[in-house]
Symmetry: C2
Subunit: 212 residues, 2 copies
């Protein structure tokens, strides 16, 4: 079992705010994500800024692409993204088109996806999936359950590299002990703390304590 990566999701409204946290935590985390909110508000400028700040860090464009896979992937790649996300209800042709341009895709799991669909994503060459607690579900009182963990385990057993995200805190990491998580993604869990750089270091230390 590997040591999970730590990914910071920059879900700021504006790039001038996102880069403050990016600069603070960029060297502490393994992966930097231009969040959907940021991409929708700033456009490809967000990806370009983060790429210029961190030329050698894995950079993800969280587009949640649902259609026009070729164009969206090409634009993200041109802007400097290494990977991008597609939404689970995108059609297989959309995923294949995006994959061909981008090389690496992550399927974002929302709503009533099925393991039969997940097998189709694998068959299409997509080997990464992001298991979510949606922000809105969390705000409505949802939380990580044993059922979530079982689904993650099944995805891992199928062959997916699984990222977990949604309301993650230092304290909640241990919920995932024993699971071969590929990446933990935290947004506010890092950026909304008093000292984001220190929090990112604590996340890394806790991950190493549990999985190291």
């Amino acid at each position: 079992m590997g040591i999970p990566n730590l990914q910071v999701a920059l879900d700021h409204n504006r790039i001038e705010d996102a880069i403050v946290d990016a600069i603070a935590v960029g060297n502490e985390v393994d992966i930097i994500e231009a969040g959907t909110i940021l991409c929708l508000n700033e456009g490809d400028k967000a990806i370009k800024c983060l790429r210029n700040l961190f030329p050698n860090k894995t950079l993800i464009a969280d587009t949640k692409c649902a259609d026009a896979g070729t164009t969206v992937a090409r634009n993200c790649k041109l802007a400097g993204a290494d990977w991008m996300t597609v939404i689970c209800c995108a059609t297989i042709p959309t995923m294949e088109a995006a994959l061909k341009e981008m090389g690496t895709l992550q399927v974002e799991l929302y709503g009533d996806w099925t393991f039969e669909q997940a097998q189709l994503w694998l068959d299409a060459g997509i080997d990464q999936a992001i298991y979510h607690q949606s922000r809105d579900a969390l705000l409505s009182g949802g939380t990580w359950t044993e059922q979530d963990l079982q689904k993650i385990k099944k995805l891992i057993d199928m062959g997916f590299k699984v990222s977990a995200t949604g309301g993650l805190t230092l304290e909640s990491l241990k919920l995932f002990e024993g699971l071969d998580i590929y990446t933990f993604i935290a947004g506010r869990g890092i950026c909304a703390t008093e000292n984001p750089a220190e929090t990112a270091k604590e996340f890394k230390a806790e991950i190493k304590r549990i999985w190291g």
Copy 2:
């Protein structure tokens, strides 16, 4: 049965290109859409530019929102959008959060959505749905089928205002004859023609001929 609206989808990569077609066809169509590609590449600037060009036209932000409904909707509204889109696999709390901010939402139908889910969207107060042939499916050889038309009819019978989109041309409008379509959405079908303004007028005339 009403006369369907005509909506132009501006799916250009850059705002400087989108406004050329926006200016050409904006006064011919009923609704202007800042397409997903444009939103992801230009950010909220795309919505702001189109709002400033057309202060009184219904303007849609095609965000295909999957999460963080409150923030995405608030940002789109602040930029000047009247309506926005959510993806069908978003959770109900996400849709409710976006609806509360935006007032009017359209659910984008991709992948394996069900009529049971559709009833939940209606119950949540969402009365618009967009039935797609995805661009990538069309590129893979897909087309409008009797099954598509039956699904659209069922959505209309349930109470949805249904927009139809995906590879629409002047010639394909008659496929929908007899259906109470709310809006036809065309992107390249208008913008990629030799004279987009003339094409938009022809779309309007053909819609009036069939539904008038």
